[in-house]
Structure formats: C-alpha cells, structure tokens
C-alpha cells in the first residue's frame, strides 16, 4: 500500500484498537519499525514518523495530527474502519491507508482474547433471547430457534469450537423460566442498513436539522 511513498506517517489510536493491543502507541511504533525494516531490505528510502491520537473517531483529536501530517506523503491509520475514514476526511488531499482489518464489536474476554457480541443491526433482539444475540452469535442469524445443524452437545455446524447460540438461548431462558419468549413466532427483521446511517441524539435535533434520518438513501 505504501510502496512509492517516501515519507509515511503511521497514526495510532488510543481508543478501542489500543485496548485490543492492535493499534495503540506500542503497535504504531512496532509497525514503523517493521516498515523501516521492509524498506531497508528492498533498498528503498522511506522515512516513517509516528503519532498516536487520543481517538481517531473524533475530529477534535485529529487536529494534533495536522502538524505531523504536513510533512508526509501518505498516512497509515491503526484505528478501526471508522477512524481510518475520519482521518481520510480530515486529510482528504493525502492518501490514507488502513493498517488493520476491523473485525467486530466485541468484548474483552481475557488479555488478548476478544469475542464478537454485536452486529449493530439497529433493532436489538436481546430482550427475547435472554441477552444472547442471535444476529451475531448464530452463524445464520436465525430468529426462531436453532437450525438442524446443531452438533454434539450444542455446537454450531460451522465448527465444534463455536457454541450454538440458540442452544445457549434455550438453556438460559429455561433457567430463567422464560421459555415462552422463544415460542412465539418472530416476524421478519426490519433491517435498517438501508444506507449510511447518522444518529442525532435527542435534544440536538434543532442543531442538526434534517440530519440523522436513519440510513435514508
């Protein structure tokens, strides 16, 4: 991606990717070293500077990046996909490349162990599924119970390492005495991913008049 650019600025993010040990200050310095090593090996002259913003998803924090960015030919962002885009908007005249593949919204299960929990579908299902998301954790995002592929003692057909979400939902609802909530027919989902979404917090409607219509395309 950065081939052909003499001066590269690697921009880390102090937010979620830092927490996930993927895009914080330490990883940004590591990336710069790796890039320098690569350049040396192929005999290309490349200057790599680094800077870690507090968060890349907020424009205010990007102001500090400005002075470092002035001297570079391209930027590499170690933020999530949202941060990369915010950085690319802020420095629209220069190429901005992603250093990470953003995978999911998840939880810190343990040090260095993360699990996906939310697909940000916009219509939360967790009330009737015992707090276990079928959209995210069922490999087929089903709404009315498990498919016929549940294997062994309750594993997904895709892999014996993946628990069947609906098996877990069943067990939890049973333990809570709430099984009736998965007996009712659940109608088709109103997916809201109709286009790029903008949300305006209640109370700010006047300030952003006309914006925030969910995914209207």
């Amino acid at each position: 991606m950065v081939k052909g650019y003499a001066r590269v600025l690697a921009v880390g993010c102090g937010g979620c990717t830092s927490v996930c040990l993927a895009g914080g200050q330490k990883e940004t310095l590591g990336l710069a070293e790796d890039l320098a090593e690569c350049a040396r090996r192929v005999g290309v002259k490349m200057e790599i500077a680094t800077f870690t913003a507090e968060r890349q998803c907020n424009g205010e924090f990007l102001a500090e990046v400005g002075e470092h960015a002035r001297e570079c030919d391209c930027l590499v962002s170690l933020a999530c996909g949202a941060g990369v885009q915010n950085l690319a908007d802020a420095f629209a005249a220069k190429p901005v490349f992603p250093a990470l593949d953003t995978r999911f919204v998840g939880i810190d299960r343990d040090v260095g162990l993360y699990e996906e929990r939310c697909r940000t579908c916009g219509t939360c299902q967790l009330a009737y599924t015992g707090g276990i998301c079928p959209v995210t954790r069922c490999s087929k995002s089903l709404f009315n119970g498990p498919c016929g592929g549940t294997s062994g003692d309750g594993k997904c057909e895709v892999s014996m390492d993946i628990p069947c979400a609906w098996h877990e939902i069943y067990e939890r609802l049973k333990a809570q005495g709430r099984l009736e909530s998965m007996l009712a027919l659940h109608p088709p989902m109103e997916w809201i991913d109709k286009g790029p979404a903008t949300v305006v917090q209640r109370g700010y409607e006047g300030r952003y008049a006309g914006r925030g219509q969910e995914g209207k395309s």
């Binding site: 087929k140 016929g148 592929g149 549940t150 294997s151 003692d153 309750g154 057909e157 067990e171």
Partner: protein
C-alpha cells in the same frame, strides 16, 4: 386442496406417501436429470430437488423442477434462506408457481463454509420459519411481505418444512416444529432417522402437541451405501447422528455386501415407521443411489404408488 399437487392428494386420501430426492447437475447438462427421472418415474409421489445443498453450485432447484415435471416426476422445489433475500425469494415463488411447481420445501440452508464458495456473503435475511409464513401469506392472502397490494394470479403451493429431531436441544425440537406448523407448514420431512429411540421420543412429543392432525409428517430414511459413507455421514454431515450399534452393523460385513446390509437396515427402518403413530409417509434420501429406489420400495411393499 391448497395446491392440488399429487403429494397433497396422496396424503389427503390417507395413503402412506413416498418422496425421494433428486440432486440437480453441477452444470447445465440435463442428461443426469433425465437418468434420475427414469429411475423415479411412477415409483414416488414426488421428488425433492435440492437447492445448492452443502453450498456447492448446481442447477437451480426451480429450473430443474420445471424440467423434471414433463419427464413424469412431480417436483418438490426446495428454497433455502442462504442465497436470496426476501425480494429474490418472493420473485422466485411467483416464478415457480407460473412454471407449475406445486410443492415447496422451506429450509434454512447449509452454511457456505461447507461448499466450494467459502467466501460467499451469506444472506439469511429471513429464517425458514419466516419463509413458511411468507409463502402462506402469498398463497392465502395473495400479498407480499409488508404490502397490502394484491398480487396477480395464484400461488397454489403445498408448503413443506424440515425438522431435525436428532439435534439439541432435543426437547425443543417438537415445539419448534409446532412453530413451523403455526407459520403455515402443510407437510414435514424429517432428517434421516437412524436413532429410533430418540425418534420415538420426538414423535411422542409431536403427537402430544396434536401436530399430526394439522400437518403431514414424512420421516426421513437414508440407505447407507458403505461403511465409508456411514462414517462420512456421522462425522461430516451437520445434524446427522448414527448410533454406535448401526455403525457396528455396517462394519460387520465385507465391503461388497455393505450395500445390501444398508438396504436391509433401511427396510427395517421403513417397517417400523409405517406403524408409528403420526407418521404419514417416508422421504427416501438415496443419495446418488437413485437406481436402487425402485428396488427398496418394491421390497418395502410400497409399490405401486396410488393414483389419485
């Protein structure tokens, strides 16, 4: 009559129904379909045309079904939720109705990670239960999902659903079946029955819920061709459970006699199912073994098929 299909008529007349399976070709060559039609014609009440099973690209179920009907085999088209959203599905349901297909089995679909298109974006816009109710709405109310506009023409389809009594949570599967019947399923085809004890428990729960009075249940029967296939089914096919005892029986005979052993086991299974409360027929899944369907049904005394 909801569809007037042969399968519906056979079941309505109280006959013990027989359906089989017919996998479409991996390409546009119809020769395979013609050969399979020759094996099945007059031997079964209808034949399921699988919908890109295991995520391997094949000729579409609807196209194959429409081509099979003039060859004298009534098709049961299959539709999974994996490859199309609700727009594509409803459009295809219009199409299959216009092409004269009168049976439609509504399924979830195998995950794409099994097949040859592992990088495919899976759809699963709606699930199989929602698909059943969508087809029922098209047929009985003549309306597409979420629209009040009346569609043009009829959608006379006999609506089918699948169930796997051998997957956990066992005690939920009968209740889940009732959900599918509430949604509009007219007939059910079960996963292949190998564990008779578990199946009897399942059917008792199904009968206690009064499901056979509202919906016809065809038990899945799958003849085992060899020990290798038995092991493959047990290890690789999602949701299939083969009891230890059965595995031993398949292993007890030399390779050249395994096919006959498999057919005998299959005949024993059919015999038990014929007298089981709530069972209205069998769905014989002779996978790439269609040439033995007539022999199995002859030996099971299920031929000739009733003319209704």
């Amino acid at each position: 009559m909801r569809s007037g299909s042969n399968l519906e008529k056979v079941l309505a007349a109280g006959h013990f129904a027989v359906t089989a399976e017919c996998g479409p070709p991996k390409g546009s060559d119809l020769a395979v379909v013609r050969t399979k039609a020759d094996y099945l014609r007059g031997k079964v009440d209808a034949a399921n045309i699988t919908d890109n099973q295991t995520g391997v690209v094949r000729m579409s179920s609807i196209a194959t079904g429409a081509l099979l009907a003039p060859l004298g085999v009534e098709p049961v088209a299959q539709m999974t939720c994996r490859d199309r959203n609700r727009i594509g599905m409803q459009s295809d349901i219009f199409g299959l109705s216009a092409l004269g297909i009168r049976n439609l089995l509504c399924l979830t679909g195998d995950h794409p990670s099994f097949g040859t298109q592992k990088g495919a974006k899976k759809v699963f816009d709606i699930d199989s239960t929602q698909l059943i109710s969508m087809v029922k709405r098209l047929r009985d109310e003549k309306k597409t999902l979420g629209s009040e506009e009346t569609i043009l023409g009829e959608i006379p389809v006999f609506i089918g659903a699948g169930v796997n009594p051998f997957a956990r949570p066992y005690e939920f599967r009968a209740v889940q079946l009732r959900k599918k019947v509430d949604a509009g399923a007219d007939f059910i085809q079960t996963q292949g029955v190998f564990d008779m004890k578990l199946f009897r428990e399942f059917m008792k729960a199904v009968c206690d819920l009064g499901i056979p009075q509202r919906c016809k249940i065809l038990a899945g029967v799958l003849p085992l061709k060899s020990l290798g296939m038995t092991k493959y089914m047990a290890e690789k096919v999602p949701g299939v459970v083969i009891p230890e005892q059965l595995m031993k029986r398949m292993a007890s005979v030399p390779k050249e006699k395994a096919g006959e052993k498999g057919i005998r086991i299959c005949l024993e299974t059919i015999e038990e199912l014929r007298t089981m409360e709530g069972i209205a027929g069998i769905h014989l899944m002779a996978i790439e073994w269609e040439q033995r369907v007539a022999e199995i049904l002859e030996r099971a005394k299920l031929l000739p098929r009733p003319i209704v």
